[in-house]
């Protein structure tokens, strides 16, 4: 039963953390934040890889691979599209940035 209690503790603390970290978001950033959070739950890919790795039947393998493809689309696409959105916010702030920061961005 200790495992359950430990997982329950993790769950409850995560709930509070999740609410707390985004509590001061401005409405301008609602769309990128939603998109970024969306990408984070793409980490279900980890679960998809585990179950597919242990799949024994052909049917199981096919379902698992479908899950892997879907989860990868969610994760990779989610982060890329969020970055594209935020890139535009970055552009207009560039003049206000410290010089070395802009230089780093140029290098990236």
């Amino acid at each position: 039963m200790t495992t359950e209690i430990a997982l329950l503790t993790v769950f409850i603390l995560s709930v509070f953390t999740g609410v707390e970290v985004i509590s001061k978001v401005s409405s301008t950033l609602h769309t990128p934040l939603m998109s970024g959070a969306n990408a984070i739950h793409g980490v279900i890919l980890v679960g998809a890889v585990i179950v597919t790795g242990f799949a024994e039947s052909t049917g199981g393998l096919i379902v698992g691979l479908a899950a892997v493809v879907l989860a990868t689309i969610n994760m990779v696409g989610g982060f890329v599209v969020t970055d594209r959105m935020l890139q535009m916010f970055g552009g207009r702030k560039a003049p206000k940035k410290a010089p070395q920061e802009s230089a780093q961005e140029g290098a990236a």
Binding site: S14, V19, A37, I40, I44, L65, F79, M88, F89
Partner: protein
């Protein structure tokens, strides 16, 4: 049991996700936050391959390659105007993946019994993941269809809908109990189908203007499904990541609903009460005043104060750059011009800021609703480009209208209003705008880019 180093690695990934969410809530750190989140996700995946004895490796890597190509190409190719539906789509496939993972794990439990932990709680979590993941998948697909305008953006209701929805919900709960009592793949599959039906029934009655709130809610659903899936697999990282998204997504949904002056309950079930059928979405043949570019150029060119209200129509016509040119020319004539950005201008909160930032409109000219709403009384001309619902006074005056209670830009308080519209078609909420028939309103029909180009040369010629 997975090795300690892998567990520590998962912990590092979980920290990355927390830092990512924190970063994403402030403009300065947003982009960095997103990259940290991506780094955490990649770390988690790499660890998984080494920590678990993963079979079918070639197949899995090929599947990841396919998913990566689809994800990257989709994310790169999408127009900024179509961003919301892409987010909905990505969210949906994530929910689908969670449901499939839970189905496979159910198969595993049926075949070998649950290893470690309590079978009861694991089965409850499995049922939850299957049901909620499917709801998120099908619900997101319907929101995608609505935003892409593959189907009507108006609320879809039919007489038996509440009964059907309630019945499906009950069926979902009963099937979940059956699944926990006697695990079987057949029950799991039926539960999955019920979830798919529930998702469709949940989103159908939601009006177009409220769809962003639903996307955010479904995003939270997928997060919770992933968390439950993490419990089933005994994987702490999935539990933490899913719960973080579930909790922050739920809170974000509430923030969005507040910004639009809507309660979540009304968003989801308002149409079922029959209120939203108001207006009928028909094109009125009442007389309106319309004018050409030269007349409107005179209105604008000799004003002292002008406020531009940009909307989704502006973005669809790709006219942001022309609009910026026009505003620059007006500025050169000594006219004070600002953009009034409604919180939900475009299709999602913050969407219009993204679109105008793309056209390099100076940040200082973008004014949020609360900052600028007091200025309309002293404004000579309000230029509404491709927006409609966000200036519709029905939000204040007509109880029962789908947008009633939504805070709007007080364009109706200014001296003159100019609407640039393609047609008399109603806005995304599907209701008529009384402001169009106001005596101080002038309409200019046509594609936003054409109209703005004509207007620009007419103002230059003054």
């Amino acid at each position: 049991m997975i090795p300690v180093w892998a567990q520590l690695g998962y912990l590092a990934a979980a920290i990355c996700f927390i830092v990512a969410l924190k970063g994403l809530s402030s403009p300065k750190t947003a982009r960095g936050g997103n990259l940290i989140g991506a780094a955490g996700a990649v770390l988690a995946c790499v660890i998984t391959f080494f920590a678990y004895d993963v079979g079918n490796l070639g197949w899995i890597l090929a599947a990841i390659a396919i998913g990566t190509v689809i994800g990257v190409v989709g994310a790169q190719r999408v127009q900024m105007t179509q961003m919301p539906q892409l987010v909905a789509l990505f969210n949906g496939v994530g929910g689908g993946a969670a449901a499939l993972v839970a189905l496979l794990e159910l198969n595993e439990i049926v075949a070998h019994g649950e290893d470690g932990g309590s079978a009861l709680v694991a089965l409850i979590a499995t049922a939850f993941t299957i049901l909620v993941g499917s709801v998120s998948f099908s619900g997101s697909m319907v929101t995608f269809a609505k935003l892409q305008e593959l189907m009507t953006t108006r609320p879809v209701t039919f007489p038996g809908l509440p009964v059907l929805f309630g019945g499906s919900l009950l069926a979902g709960v009963v099937l979940s109990i059956v699944l926990v009592a006697g695990p079987g793949l057949a029950v799991g599959t039926v539960l999955c189908l019920v979830g798919l039906a529930l998702g469709v029934l949940l989103v159908l009655p939601v009006g177009g203007a409220d769809v962003p709130i639903v996307i955010s809610l479904l995003n939270a659903f997928t997060g919770l499904a992933v968390a439950a899936g993490g419990y089933v697999l005994g994987n702490t990282l999935l539990l933490v990541a899913g719960t973080l998204v579930g909790a922050s997504g739920t809170f974000l949904t509430k923030l969005m609903a507040d910004a639009m002056g809507r309660s979540l309950f009304n968003t989801l079930f308002g149409a079922l009460k029959g209120g939203s059928t108001l207006g009928g979405g028909e094109i009125s043949d009442r007389p309106v005043k319309s004018a050409g570019a030269e007349d409107i150029a005179i209105l604008l060119g000799y004003a002292h104060r002008v406020i531009v209200v940009p909307g989704y129509g502006l973005a669809v016509a790709q006219a942001q750059h022309t609009l910026r040119d026009l505003v620059d020319v007006l500025g050169d004539r000594g006219i004070k011009v600002d953009y009034a950005i409604h919180p939900v201008a475009g299709r999602m909160p913050g969407h219009m800021n993204v679109l105008l930032a793309e056209a390099q409109v100076p940040y200082e000219q973008l004014r949020e609703m609360d900052q600028i709403n007091g200025d309309f009384k002293q404004t000579d001309v309000v230029l509404v480009v491709g927006a409609n619902d966000v200036v519709n006074p029905a939000a204040k005056t007509t109880p029962g209208a789908p947008i009633y209670g939504m805070p709007i830009l007080n364009a109706d308080e200014s001296r003159q209003i100019v609407f640039m519209k393609r047609s008399m078609r109603p806005g995304f909420a599907g209701i008529e705008n009384e402001l169009l028939f106001d005596p101080k309103t002038t309409l200019m029909f046509g594609d936003a880019r054409d109209s703005l180009t004509k207007l620009l040369s007419a103002v230059k010629a003054l």
